[in-house]
Amino acid sequence: MKPIISIKNLVKQYSYYKKQPGLLGSIKSLFHREKLYVEAVKGISFEIQPGEFVGFVGPNGAGKTTTLKMLSGILYPTSGDVDVLNHKPFEREPEFQKQFALVMGQKNQLWWDLPAIESFLLNKAIYEIPDALFKKNLDELSELLDIKDILDVQVRKLSLGQRMKCELVAALLHSPKVLFLDEPTIGLDVISQNAIREFLKAYNKEKGATIILTSHYMQDIRRLCDRVIIIDHGQLLYDGTYDALHTQYSDSKTVEFTLANRVDAKEIEVFGKILSQKDRTFSIKIPREKTAEITGKILEKFQVDDIVIHERDIEEIIEEIFTDKKMRD
């Protein structure tokens, strides 16, 4: 199948002017400004097939938002190719724009002082959505996200969660084929996060929409994304299925135990790498196949109040990929 999104050696360099602090600095900068560059995306490539739900992960400043901005045509790439729905996003053709939507969790597109329904009607006009389709989509979406009774409330009076739901509705009214979501669950409570997750999952399944989602909440990625792309410092670190990532890095497990007596960390280290220590509670990493053996030894040697063995969290795994990478560099 032909990919619906494809980027190749994509690079984005931001330029900005160095500003020296203080009044003297300001005066100096009137005459001479030093131009600095920062390479936010350093040549990444990937292809995404129609219907995929991709998690785009990385620490702060990794270049996620920058990449999404290039995919949606806000930014011109410095170099490299970007192709979405057979269009060059930065050409900003209306036929292209009618087929995708961008939702940014930290920015709202709804009119602040007006009820959400007015913003929906504006989108209806902008995207030239026929009356019947508009009504159908609005009914369906507001039913699914449970916002029927807040459509007439001024947006600024809504809670963050309600507002985010309205943002999603606004973005989906024109039935986009491709959806870019930049931290859509940021700042929401667990219940709202769940509601939005469930909704996105269903939307992807039922409509076959292609979705790229960035999030710092691993729950989002775990529940929603079959595929994970990890970037750091503008470079691709991992691109593959969520499961493979999990298995590849789950050749080890985490054992967490609380001892009855105070013990020197040195005595614990011999069993495995200490991930964390808090008072008498230790968390260590051990090879999967040695789980029984090592826990047996611990129980034998110390007086243990409590012991738990668990699979490693995706957060930990990603953290490890990052630290491994740093050590290699």
């Binding site: 931001y14 938002t65 901005k69 949606s72 045509g73 806000i74 930014l75 011109y76 900003r92 209306p94 724009q97 009618k98 995708f100 961008l102 940014m104 930290q106 920015k107 597109q109 009119w111 002082d113 007006l114 007015e118 009607l121 504006l122 989108n123 209806k124 006009a125 902008i126 995207y127 030239e128 930049d182």
Partner: protein, 264 residues
């Protein structure tokens, strides 16, 4: 057209949310006009005429130019600069919407609400100052004036749009905006009738767009121009609209190319 009327509607609704500004408008519109009338009547006590303007013409000039200002200004520059600086432009350039058309519609809506509030204020003012005013309800004059206002509105918007777009290239656009206002005030006849200036200067000004904002419509109102001269004036305005449109498009293209989608 459906799109455009929706843009206007959004502006109307947004402006209606800010009704509380009514008192402010009341003050802004009434106080200076009454004070100026008072001042002029003292100045004219010794002289019958200043630069070909009688007291009544001067008061009328002052009042009507303030009203024209209410009709043709869009005050779009700050909002446009803010959209760019705060990254709100992102949501326009990712949707199938022409930002300039959209802003124009939205500003029309907002200004229409403002006008509906302002017009009664001016009717009261005219009632208060009726002895000082010259009225002209000639229908041809009114048609010419309507065309002139409409063209001025577009020109004013393009100017605002260009100044606002400077936010693509610089952090602070306030100074530039202030400069633009100064230029307009001096060359348009907003501060005083341009007939008070030397002929040579008046001729130069007549090729610039600014005089058509205030001085020209007042000359039309006082029926001091021939029909040919009126057509000529409106024609020059049209030429400037085309020039401004082209420049605005150029700035827009350059700006959005360099735009870095600030924020998040």
């Amino acid at each position: 057209m459906n799109k455009f009327t929706t843009y206007i509607k959004i502006g109307v609704l947004d402006a209606l949310e800010m009704r509380f500004q009514l008192l402010y408008w009341l003050y802004v519109n009434m106080a200076p006009i009454i004070m100026m009338t008072y001042l002029w009547s003292h100045l004219y006590a010794q002289k019958g005429e200043i630069g070909g303007y009688s007291l009544n013409m001067m008061v009328t000039y002052y009042l009507v130019t303030r009203l024209i200002n209410r009709i043709i200004s869009t005050y779009a520059e700050e909002r446009i600069a803010k959209d760019i600086k705060e990254g709100r432009l992102n949501q326009y350039i990712t949707r199938p919407i022409d930002y300039m058309t959209y802003k124009f519609g939205e500003r029309l809506g907002i200004r229409a609400v403002n006008l509906i509030i302002v017009i009664p204020i001016y009717m009261i003012l005219m009632l208060i100052l009726r002895e000082y005013l010259i009225f002209n309800f000639d229908s041809i004059t009114i048609i010419f004036l309507s065309i002139n206002f409409f063209l001025s509105l577009i020109l004013f918007f393009f100017l605002a749009f260009m100044i606002g777009m400077m936010a693509f290239f610089m952090v602070e656009t306030h100074a530039l905006n202030g400069l633009k206002d100064q230029v307009i005030n001096l060359m348009s006849g907003y501060l005083f009738p341009l007939t008070l200036l030397p002929e040579k200067l008046q001729e130069i000004f007549s090729y610039l767009p600014f005089t058509y904002f205030y001085n020209f419509p007042m000359e039309v109102y006082f029926q001091r121009l021939t029909t040919i001269q009126i057509y000529q004036g409106l024609g020059i305005q049209c030429v400037w609209i085309i020039v401004f449109y082209l420049i605005a498009q150029l700035i827009w293209q350059q700006g959005t190319k360099n735009y870095e989608g600030i924020g998040i």
